[in-house]
Symmetry: D2
Amino acid sequence: MTAASRYTYLGPEGTFTEAALRTLPEAATRELVPMISVPAALDAVRSGEAAGALVPIENSVEGGVLATVDELASGQPLMIYREVLLPIAFALLVRPGTAIESIKTVTGHPVAQPQVRDWLKRFLPDAQWESAASNADGARLVQEGRYDAAFAGEFAAAIYGLEPLVTDIHDAHNATTRFVLVGRPARPAARTGADKTSVVLWLRADHPGALLDVLQEYAARGVNLTRIESRPTGKGIGQYCFSVDCEGHVSDRRVGEALMGLRRLCSDVRYLGSYPRADHVEPAVRSGTTDEDFLAAADWLTRCLDGRPDETGRTATDR
Amino acid sequence: MTAASRYTYLGPEGTFTEAALRTLPEAATRELVPMISVPAALDAVRSGEAAGALVPIENSVEGGVLATVDELASGQPLMIYREVLLPIAFALLVRPGTAIESIKTVTGHPVAQPQVRDWLKRFLPDAQWESAASNADGARLVQEGRYDAAFAGEFAAAIYGLEPLVTDIHDAHNATTRFVLVGRPARPAARTGADKTSVVLWLRADHPGALLDVLQEYAARGVNLTRIESRPTGKGIGQYCFSVDCEGHVSDRRVGEALMGLRRLCSDVRYLGSYPRADHVEPAVRSGTTDEDFLAAADWLTRCLDGRPDETGRTATDR
Amino acid sequence: MTAASRYTYLGPEGTFTEAALRTLPEAATRELVPMISVPAALDAVRSGEAAGALVPIENSVEGGVLATVDELASGQPLMIYREVLLPIAFALLVRPGTAIESIKTVTGHPVAQPQVRDWLKRFLPDAQWESAASNADGARLVQEGRYDAAFAGEFAAAIYGLEPLVTDIHDAHNATTRFVLVGRPARPAARTGADKTSVVLWLRADHPGALLDVLQEYAARGVNLTRIESRPTGKGIGQYCFSVDCEGHVSDRRVGEALMGLRRLCSDVRYLGSYPRADHVEPAVRSGTTDEDFLAAADWLTRCLDGRPDETGRTATDR
Amino acid sequence: MTAASRYTYLGPEGTFTEAALRTLPEAATRELVPMISVPAALDAVRSGEAAGALVPIENSVEGGVLATVDELASGQPLMIYREVLLPIAFALLVRPGTAIESIKTVTGHPVAQPQVRDWLKRFLPDAQWESAASNADGARLVQEGRYDAAFAGEFAAAIYGLEPLVTDIHDAHNATTRFVLVGRPARPAARTGADKTSVVLWLRADHPGALLDVLQEYAARGVNLTRIESRPTGKGIGQYCFSVDCEGHVSDRRVGEALMGLRRLCSDVRYLGSYPRADHVEPAVRSGTTDEDFLAAADWLTRCLDGRPDETGRTATDR
């Protein structure tokens, strides 16, 4: 297969990321290549070795996946074309025949640990936790005999010759991870009517209320935010950029005008793409912010400039 | 002369309005026709009998000239093409030979009265005030012998065969009246860089913070207001429209976009024109709100839509 | 009677103001004294010659009654204790026996004129209008034979020996005038739950977005405005103060805190009183802005300062 | 020693956290106990086994230390009493005699890795990185021979019998970590004039512009934010709480009133303390937001309620 049909993902095989990737229809016809880290998965896209990369960006228990958020904010630009939501439940994977009483050591990705902490306290209070590079890697280490059990997706059992001793483990209800399919900059995904738009914003340092003004650019056009995350710029304590997702597509006038406002307001804006919402929820569009409203306002302004401001035939008594 | 070269004004002859009109260079080549009221002066323009009308719109002591504000907000649309500022000082006009001790009755326009009240208390405490239809009309009534003295512009003395007994009377320092030259809707006056833009706004009745949102549309683009006046819509106590002047010209991008925002936000907007400021004060344009900033943002949005968001050659390390 | 039981009002006898005053229960036991002007009515209160004065402040057709708005904003402080709403309909008063065909001249207060303009155009298109000092004064001038007919309240007919030729004349539906009962500063009227609070605000001149900030002080506490009027300060074009009415009573925490915010924000604030709404409409109080919410927040802050921030017994899982 | 004189910290010995703790004067007279994790260090405080815990909360390269941010937002309440800023520079620690050419494997805390990534690419491009539980733990693993070199603070060398082969390694200039000294809830640290105040905010879910309103509560009182971080509430994608630091002390009126506003606005607020800024920077206090301004406004409101609104002796002409 060629680079054009290759997708990388945060590996190794058997991770939740792979499971998320396999929910995409086109995954069936792509070469899926596990990579050892988010930067590695994304750099393969940057260098042209892969057409896309699927990486986790946000977890409902642990929050932003910082490697992904930071990689998208810096380095050679990339864009998001799809998002995938995957409910997260862990299985406790053991070598065949292992009894729960004999488990002394458990492993898993550091992100998994807070999601199974309560379960561990209750069912394996004396087991020792050690972190692995990934959930799948934890499974491999169990296979190799380094640990007694690993928390991973149930689908990882077969890959590593393990068996799921307990399944559907998750401290929080509705634990979900959000993944994004990232590619090189190109035309955004087509508008579906239920879309999100992502940007990274660098505020003007000399402006105390800058974040308030940023939120105002969205709010004034009735555009709701779905995620906002502050990240350090690396230039010292108190210096942040903001990674922001909002409802709507860049080709929606209200979103496009908000983005232009941000571009004027901020010292820099990086557009990360517009893409279909995985949950298909269409936004409630506030009165006065539909595309038709924006076009009518633009038409009216043109008439003002031409000296025909009231040509719609409305009369004062309509008011 | 034809209607095209005729200007009406709030008469009669000898008013401050006439004095203001005569400060316009083109007044020398126009037929200047006094009218008995602001509506009459404006209706002559609406009907095509005159090309323009000069009417007072605001006084630094008395506030908005409501007849003008309301006429511009209702009826057949008109537009403002010029503004004139005239410092207001009154002369006390009497029939030749009248001594100040013999003055028992004084007259003048009701708007004049609060501007000379302190002077009257001090120098003519026992004189009786009666209002006249205009300052000039007061002068005429003195000429006819109905009153002993009239407050009017010094320039009115000659017209009515009177003499100015006292000049430069004004309780308030810097008392100024602002006049506007009004015509039928056409292309706005050319942008000079020191302009004003006037609108009338009808808020959506069902929206409590609507006025806040209106001000935000201006503020978000760094557009300062120079006047805001609430006027009843005639539909009951608590129902207002707002007459608003701001800095800048409709062809300034920041003003144009603010107007479009208002058009989407309000139930109706009436554009009253953009015209040179009489004081020639250029606005302080906030960073991010120049025409160049708006164009750069629009270019960037186009690149986002085309999939070339970062083509400016900036690198992440610039941030 | 003594000054303590004397109320002045904008006279002469037979004005709408008198009619409004007579709707107050206590009017029956007061000496009601007509005065020739709003300032005169208010100065009688200031000097102690009267306990109160009823004056018009706002008209649904003509807007603010500027003499009242300006008098309350300047000079020795006064406070508002009551408001009265009076539907306005005019009668055409004539000397007994006058036929409508014989009416050549009509009179009335200048504020009446725009409220009967359409009626005049239709039924008396050739009649000459001249303004009178008040509607009642117009009636007197008809009595004296100076004019043929006067627009005034029907109740004025008897006083001046006239007869109402036509009644219930009003161009606008729901034309209403709002009057206020003004006294010397004292404790505000008791809270009823359906109240208004009035202030005059002088913005800091050096602060472009000052009006936005003022509105924000109200909005942040869920306090709706019912009237906002800009008035010149007399210091030059573009220098305004704002006369503002809001829902609620100064003893409502949300109103009190908004007023304190305004006091800190503005260069000056004049408190004009809190008083029952004439329409008895109770405000919709937004979640988080009841008195209980303010008290709970103050209790919590005290606990924070004392080092007991979470003493309410809530646990993290409630969140 | 007793629990009252015991401080825990994120161990093991030789971490930057220990170095930061030792910059506190009182550390000299406390028993300093290393703990294996942030939750362990904090739980020792919660249970009363220690009086305080020093933990990292923010890094200028990596951002928020999520374990700390999340621990402070949930579970039994704790409060912050001090902050410490520590410039971060790494030393490459090796067993005595190791040459740089022979280094095949390096280790360190995952947070260290992005801070030395560029250095590694340049000077040890072929070395294999594996993460350790802490920088100090990495040093221990080098001592035990498991890895060839560890990135850690230079001060860790002596503890583990290693030598610093290279010092002052840091990809970013000004890399700094911020630590907080945490204790059980009690009176906040005394106001110094250069303070910070920390809270965790849970927004009302049903309110789209809630974050905007939150920022407005600070901005309206001239209170600047120094950090804002969104964290998932664990209830699903898109459900966040916000960890916010601002300038000023809870006993500053402007901060106290902002906190009360937040308490009314948010579904919950957790107060995390007020404490001296490590950088001693005093805030620029905006006109109208000093303690004196708040007290003057409260006095004035009391006078309004008492009917003496203008007792300061100011006259209208002062305005």
